[in-house]
């Protein structure tokens, strides 16, 4: 093998502390080196031409460039190698700048180290194998998981760009939490008025396949080539026949057995129902757990009234598989339910606020439903216990958020804003009412956000008290809120008619299970992890899976929408080419050596190890060996260190290469 060594002075950056001519002279004597030179700027055009000419003239098989960090110029020199006709992966770099000249003062020491590093690189490059970039085809279809505002936005953006979308929503209707909201900050737009047109657009879009009442069951494959299994839960209604007339809903005799989850448990719903009047699709669902038919086979009123014969009591769950190229996670959040004892050991709950014990202690989403014109009170402020108009309402912020001792360490971000909105909405309707807000800090960063909070305080007269509430208890039909005003430095007691808790936004139920199904990492709270907190906030670390909205961390509507559009743009980047190219730093299995223990499978963070059956000529399986899927493997090499028989190697960093480097020390 003929190796060329090129030592760069980097102007004076390397040359000042490393005697470059001496390094290149020393390199001439390394076994295999046939050509060794030094030059002022190797990365410059003349420098690169020098490399290319040497490769062509001397017939070099591999090159070592002693210059800066490979993170800086590896691509440059690999390109030069390619241009001169050798495989780009037969180029190695010795880091003589960041790791030598810039960190050492003594010329003798630095030069000696530079020689050693160059020798190590030469020994490594001798064992480099020519590699080819990996090309994988792309299926240009997107799966969006979650049909809230983020999922809707992402689906519409991708579909409008001309690519097919499968939108999966676990509830019977899309719309998510935004459809429950009354008005939105800071403009006080009616939430449903701005959302429902988009829901209809999704439903009617020719490129969007909407699958409601469905859940993702299994995800296999890799970027550009996912195979997704989706469970379509049985609605017990034939969607192709149902016209959405709603007769079954009005005639169903089971009226008070199930709480309406859309109304946050403040109303009942029949056994056959749509979550809310504007549901998309407007096709009801029969709740097996309360329907009389499933108890004793009787009733069947809905069957009698349905003129279209759409009721199907015997309908079963259906598994559908879809071929997908990119996945957008938009599963959203839920509110921390403080009524029951939380199962996570690190959350202790807030029993002292009496949520679940007193009917008039409610959370933010319940307040939204009370304030909403389509809610259980038709938008009139009536408290849940006796339907009276509350004259004094206390809002408590940071219930569960920013609380290391009892709740979650993070800030839920939107509570300051929606509490200001709640207090404002209340004051707009109950002019003689009083609204108190207990807060820790007001965090109102965002366009027109701070102004909105000031408006609540200055124009609408909402009283802000800085401090925590220690206890809420009932006395003579009033709720006594005991807290502290830390600015006045004294305890406060307020006799309230209603208490609203701004409970923390937490990860969706089963978010971690879904993350494991899909194969993306999540943090200790269950929020999905982004690939890089600053520069790759949209991508998960798994290729081809993107994040949108509050499934990544608490977010408000504009942020969720922005993130959804960004995720849509990311999928379009992926779909911009027919084949995907990536660096060939992947693991390879020597099938002759592999004993089939599959320890590698257990440690692989990407589920990239598959089982391959080795058959003899009669088709009988002789043994099972590990097989690395190039599309999934990201090249960490954890399998190589785990393999007991050393039959798996990381391309570009093989054991042989590393041993050679050690030997050359």
């Amino acid at each position: 093998m003929k190796i060329g060594v090129f030592i760069c002075h980097c102007g004076e950056n390397i040359g000042r502390t490393v005697d470059c001519p001496r390094v290149s002279k020393a390199a001439e004597w390394f076994p295999g080196v046939v050509h060794s030179v030094d030059y002022k700027y190797m990365c410059s055009d003349p420098g690169q031409n020098m490399i290319k000419d040497a490769i062509r003239e001397k017939g070099l098989d591999a090159i070592v460039v002693g210059s800066c960090s490979p993170h800086m110029h590896e691509k440059t020199f690999r390109k030069a190698a390619l241009d001169a006709g050798i495989n780009p992966f037969l180029c190695e770099m010795a880091n003589l700048r960041e790791h030598v000249s810039w960190v050492h003062d003594d010329i003798e020491e630095a030069t000696q180290k530079a020689i050693d590093l160059t020798r190590m690189a030469v020994e490594k490059v001798k064992r480099n194998q020519p590699l080819a970039t990996i090309k994988v085809p792309v299926t240009k279809r997107t799966l969006v998981i979650g049909g809230g505002i983020a999922g809707i936005q992402a689906a519409l953006d991708v579909a409008n760009a001309g690519y097919e979308v499968v939108l999966v929503e676990k509830e019977p209707s899309i719309g998510g939490h935004m459809s429950q909201l009354s008005e939105t900050f800071p403009t006080l737009d009616c939430s449903q008025c701005i959302l429902t047109p988009r829901m209809v657009e999704v439903y009617q879009h020719p490129k969007i396949k909407l699958m409601t009442y469905s859940e993702v069951e299994k995800v296999e494959g890799f970027i550009g080539n996912f195979h997704v299994t989706i469970r379509q839960k049985a609605r017990h209604i034939d969607a192709s026949k149902c016209t959405g007339c709603g007769l079954c809903i009005t005639k169903c005799p089971i009226r008070k057995k199930a709480f309406n989850s859309f109304e946050e448990g403040m109303a009942y719903r029949p056994a056959v129902y749509v979550p809310f009047p504007q549901a998309v699709p407007n096709i009801p669902v029969i709740d097996e757990t309360v329907c009389t038919y499933y108890k004793n086979g009787k009733c069947g009123v809905c069957v009698k009234v349905c003129g279209r014969e759409a009721i199907m009591f015997d309908q079963q769950d259906k598994l559908v598989t879809e071929e997908i190229g990119a996945i957008i996670m938009a599963t959203g959040y839920k509110l921390y339910d403080i009524s029951k004892k939380p199962d996570d050991s690190f959350i202790k709950g807030y029993g002292e606020y009496g949520y679940g014990k007193y009917k008039d202690v409610i959370d933010g989403l319940q307040f939204e439903r009370i304030a909403s014109a389509s809610g259980p009170t038709s938008g009139e402020f009536k408290r849940p216990s006796d339907g009276k108009e509350p004259k004094k309402v206390v809002f408590i912020q940071c219930v569960g958020s920013r609380d290391d001792s009892k709740g979650f360490s993070y800030c839920s971000k939107i509570c300051c804003m929606y509490t200001a909105k709640h207090a404002m909405l209340y004051k707009h309707k109950v002019h003689d009412g009083e609204a108190y807000v207990f807060y820790m800090d007001i965090r109102s960063g965002g366009k027109m956000y701070e102004e909105f909070v000031r408006r609540a305080i200055e124009e609408d007269g909402v009283k802000y008290v800085r401090g925590r509430v220690s206890k809420v208890y009932e006395q003579n039909g009033k709720y006594i809120v005991k807290g502290e005003d830390t600015i006045a430095g004294m305890p406060v007691e307020i006799e309230a008619d209603m208490v609203v808790l701004a409970t923390a936004m937490i990860a969706q139920e089963n978010a971690s299970t879904l993350a494991q199904t899909v194969g993306i990492p999540y943090d200790k709270y269950g929020f999905f992890n982004e690939a890089h907190p600053k520069l790759r906030p949209i991508e998960s670390t798994t290729g081809g899976i993107f994040l949108a909205g509050a499934c990544q961390s608490p977010k408000d509507i504009p942020e969720s929408v922005a993130m959804a559009s960004a995720a849509a743009a990311k999928t379009m980047v992926l779909f911009g080419s027919d084949m995907l190219e990536r660096e060939p730093v992947v693991a390879r299995v020597n099938e002759l050596l592999c004993g089939g223990c599959f320890y590698c499978r257990k440690v692989c963070p990407y589920s990239a190890i598959e089982v391959r059956e080795i058959k003899d000529r009669n088709g009988v399986v002789i043994k099972e060996v590990a097989y690395v899927n190039d599309g999934l493997c990201q090249g960490c090499g954890t399998c190589t260190a785990t393999c007991p028989s050393k039959s798996v190697e990381l391309m570009g960093f093989t054991n042989e290469q590393i041993f050679a480097q050690i030997a050359a020390l």
């Binding site: 993170h71 810039w102 963070p605 954890t638 054991n655």
Partner: protein
């Protein structure tokens, strides 16, 4: 080589994403550390085989440093968790092999911790300098050679007898 001239030889196995980049940052920030340490880049600390360390000691290293991303920050999600478990166990075995535990050190250095990298390297080099040259394998080698020579003689004798 006389004792005064002896300089410790330290090998570092570092991950591409955190510690190697952290070392680059140390360079960019023009921080100084001893030149005794040479780095071998791997993609992830999870891919560092204990055999590499043994091999380094065998090939004359006086100390070894292993460094990767902080637990939880791994570029590959979980590689450094595997590494951490592996090293906790391997460290226990080291004394059994007759190697002082201080000759093998682990640390987590992120891409933004150029200063920490310098501190870690300086500490390792100082610790190894205090321990002195590592002779374990050299002694073993001479022992091994003696055994082999002994065997050879016996074989020769046997051959002579069998003629």
């Amino acid at each position: 080589m006389t004792e005064e001239k002896w300089e410790p030889k330290v090998v570092a196995f570092v991950c591409n994403w955190c510690t190697y980049t952290g070392a680059d940052l140390a360079g960019t920030s023009r921080l100084k550390y001893p030149a005794n340490m040479k780095m071998i880049r791997v993609m992830c600390s999870g891919g560092i085989d204990p055999v590499f360390i043994i091999k380094a000691f065998e090939r004359g290293a006086d100390g070894v440093l292993i460094s990767g991303c902080h637990p939880g920050d791994c570029h590959y999600n979980a590689g450094n968790f595997h590494a951490r478990r592996r090293w906790t166990m391997f460290h226990q075995l080291l004394e059994y092999l007759g190697i002082d535990k201080n000759r093998l050190q682990f640390s987590w250095v992120s891409a933004s911790e150029g200063k920490k990298f310098v501190d870690v390297v300086s500490k390792v080099v100082n610790d190894v300098r205090e321990l002195g040259p590592f002779k374990g394998y050299k002694e073993l080698n001479s022992e091994f050679t003696a055994v082999v020579n002994g065997l050879k003689q016996e074989v020769n004798k046997a051959e002579a007898v069998n003629g």
